[in-house]
């Protein structure tokens, strides 16, 4: 037992969890915590808006595969975090959001900068803590990290009243915590796994659908081993993009609203589908009742509530993806199965290859300028080292990336796929760079989305966290404009950003580097310059405002209804 203030206990507990960085902003209700941070070795990164703090912690968490920490004051500081917390919740990313709260006796009195952040965050977090005494803070922190990082990860809020931060108490730091209502470690049922193997081996047209759970579980090698052993083609969800190398012959890439045409077509032809760490989101599978009507579905997920939530399945396996796949591989090793040699093809694989080749051969861009989104992204892929980390903003830029940027090293791509948060990509890329300073980090952006959190340029420059913003600038909210052109009779409204601001000048105003690229030659130069730069570079690439993203599964439709052009 040691006598500590709540704030000191909090910082000590964070240090014990191995926290090396906090993204935050001070304010009246968290000053005691900041005062303790002053004498801690934890790096503090001062953000310019709390939404970005949560996104940075999220980006850090997705790359490190451990919790990222953000810190805000009460009231508006806390509510500014909400979008970032909801983003992390939808994408199962472990962040610890710490907020200051008004003193205990003021709670419920509508005090200055008071806000019921626990009430607000209950449906967008795995759990919310509001420690009402300094004594329990170490236990709360330990539990928060345990909950955030285990099972299906997700955000946890710790809301600390200011007088609890100041209160001095006899404090103990537990090594282990147990929560009786929470048992995240579920061993996969081996009889279910055996049944799944029988079904997969009996399939004529098997398909794997790999989701974000493969990334979270780090089961890249197991997935590849399984696909290669059974020669099963792999589609991914958008969240799962890059969990399987996209230059692999068995890779078909993402399915969904803006999935590859061949992936959307071929998945509907499968007779057995192995869905791994995926929640069958509407963006991936379209209409729930239409999807997979004629196929048998095996579903592996760590969250029991996901089995049968959106889609009734034939075999459900509850457990960690990596553990489940390892059991599967072990069982398969004892079975006599046909081994495939290179170049050998089943009729299904031949069909898959032909369909893929056909659709890849007819892909064309539809912009009128020399530099189109597709050409720009393909050029970036060509020049960017394979192990670089890529994130995106939300909208057309995101979907063009999904279609045209092949992820080669598994786990090096992420995006706000569930909540679809504009403004996510740039701060998330900063968080990713903090986690992996040794690799290049690129945010493939659009002008509308980048505009939302561009003030993080200050953070990037002053904290020396250089990233590359690859800005496909169509002077508009392009995805919305595309929907208005296609479904609202070209009645475009509220989408024209008119080329303001000038992003080269914006970059320069913050002390970053801005380069405009209007030809393929200028683009190549810009990318090479950015890769050599030790300061953040914004590459502003003006593209045709009328350039659409295709293929496109129109909203409310099924994968079979994917259209290839307007």
């Amino acid at each position: 037992m040691v006598e500590l203030s709540g704030a000191k206990a909090l910082i000590k507990a964070l240090e014990k969890e191995g926290v090396d960085v906090i993204f935050g902003m001070p304010g009246g209700a968290n000053l005691p915590i900041y005062d303790e941070l002053y004498s801690s070795n934890i790096r503090h990164i001062l953000i310019r808006h709390e939404q970005s703090a949560a996104h940075m912690a999220d980006g850090y968490a997705r790359v490190k595969r451990k919790a990222g920490v953000c810190l805000a004051t009460s009231g508006p500081g806390a509510t500014n975090l909400v979008t970032g917390i909801a983003t992390a919740y939808m994408d199962s990313s472990p962040i610890i959001a710490i907020t200051g709260q008004v003193p205990r006796e003021m709670i419920g009195k509508d005090a200055f900068q008071e806000c019921d952040i626990v009430g607000i965050c209950t449906s967008i977090t795995k759990y919310c803590f509001q420690p009402m005494s300094a004594k329990i803070i170490p236990e709360v922190v330990k539990k928060a990290f345990y909950i955030a990082e285990s099972g299906r990860p997700g955000p946890v809020l710790i809301d600390v009243p200011k007088d609890v931060q100041q209160e001095v108490a006899d404090t103990e730091f537990p090594e282990l915590v147990k929560i009786r209502g929470y048992s995240p470690h579920i061993e996969p049922d081996v009889t279910q796994v055996a049944k799944a193997i029988d079904l997969l081996l009996s399939a004529e047209r098997p398909m794997i659908m790999a989701g974000g759970g493969v990334h979270i579980s780090g089961a890249f090698n197991e997935l590849q081993a399984l696909a290669e052993m059974l020669m099963i083609p792999v589609v991914t969800t958008f969240k799962g993009k890059g969990v399987f190398p996209e230059n692999h012959p068995l890779s078909l890439g993402p399915i969904g609203m803006h999935g590859h045409a061949e992936a959307n077509k071929l998945i509907t032809e499968a007779d057995v589908l192995l869905a791994i760490g995926s929640r069958f989101s509407d963006r991936s599978v379209g209409k729930f009742d239409e999807f997979g009507k004629d196929m048998k579905i095996i579903h592996i997920d760590i969250d029991p509530a996901e089995i049968g939530k959106n889609k009734q399945v034939d075999i459900g396996i509850v457990g960690d993806v990596k553990v489940s796949l390892r059991i599967m591989l072990k069982m398969l090793a004892n079975r006599v199965i046909k081994k495939y040699t290179e170049g050998e093809e089943t009729p299904w694989l031949k069909h898959v290859r032909e369909v893929k080749e056909y659709y890849r051969s007819i892909v064309k861009d539809n912009g009128s300028r020399e530099v189109t989104a597709m050409k720009a992204i393909k050029k970036l892929r060509e020049l960017l080292p394979a192990e670089s980390i890529v994130t995106t903003e939300v909208g057309q830029c995101q979907m063009w990336t999904s279609l045209h940027f092949d992820v080669i090293v598994p786990g090096t791509f992420f995006s706000s796929t569930g909540l679809g948060t504009m403004g996510f990509g740039f701060p998330a890329s900063i968080g990713a760079k903090v986690a992996r300073p040794d690799v290049h980090v690129v945010d493939i952006a659009g002008d509308g989305s980048f505009n939302m959190t561009e003030n993080s340029l200050a953070v990037s420059v002053l904290e020396d966290i250089p990233v590359i913003v690859f800005l496909l600038n169509n002077y508009s909210l392009g995805m919305v404009a595309q929907w208005q052109r296609l479904f609202y009779n070209r009645r475009t409204i509220g989408v024209d950003l008119k080329g303001v601001p000038d992003f080269v000048k914006v970059a320069e105003a913050y002390g970053a580097q801005g380069i405009r690229a209007q030809s393929m030659q200028e683009l190549e130069y810009a990318i090479k310059t950015a890769l050599k730069s030790d300061v953040t570079t914004v590459i502003d690439i003006p593209i045709d405002p009328e350039e659409n993203v295709f293929p496109f599964m129109p909203p409310g439709k099924g994968l079979k209804d994917t259209i290839l052009a307007a």
């Binding site: 919310c128 909950i147 029991p304």
Partner: protein
């Protein structure tokens, strides 16, 4: 579609009822009744929920409840092997002695109790399955119900026969 009773053991601490009811709202579960109270363990409460729904809905509700960290255990109670009761207080408009006797007869048949009487009203306490309370209510409705309060269902599974 069927009538289901779900029994959840939860941590007895502030905010838990909010978490549970907030989940029902956020995920669009339309529950029929919810009751909450202490159990044999002082640090646990029992929440009993009744819901009309198809198998898929009820299964999802159980799984989503289990996902809440303060929920320790969730059970679906089999209707044919559980005891479930609800308590209702019904204040009726009764202004003359003959009617009063009539009501008391009905109360006796239903093994209820008259718990309050005034010149113009009678309050009846009745315990039983929701069906029984519905039946009593429909029998006395024509006297005029001034106020009515029901607790929601409280339930436990029966003991095993050869324990």
């Amino acid at each position: 579609m069927g009538w289901n009773i779900i029994s959840a053991l939860v941590e007895n601490k502030p905010g838990v009822l909010f978490r549970v009811s907030n989940m029902f709202r956020a995920r669009g579960f339309n529950i029929e009744s919810l009751s909450v109270g202490p159990t044999e363990q002082s640090d646990l409460s029992r929440i009993t929920i009744t819901i009309n729904g198809d198998e898929h809905t009820v299964e999802q509700l159980v799984k989503q409840l289990m996902k809440i960290i303060d929920v320790v255990n969730v059970e679906r109670l089999p209707l044919d092997n559980s005891v479930y009761r609800e308590l209702a207080l019904i204040k009726l408009r009764v202004e003359d002695p003959t009617t009063r006797l009539e009501v008391m007869n009905l109360v006796n048949v239903f093994r209820g109790k008259v718990v309050d009487i005034s010149k113009r009203s009678m309050m009846i306490e009745i315990t039983g399955t929701p069906d029984k309370i519905d039946a009593f209510k429909s029998l006395v409705e024509h006297y005029g119900i001034i106020q009515l309060a029901r607790t929601g269902v409280c339930a436990l599974p029966r003991g095993v026969i050869y324990e």
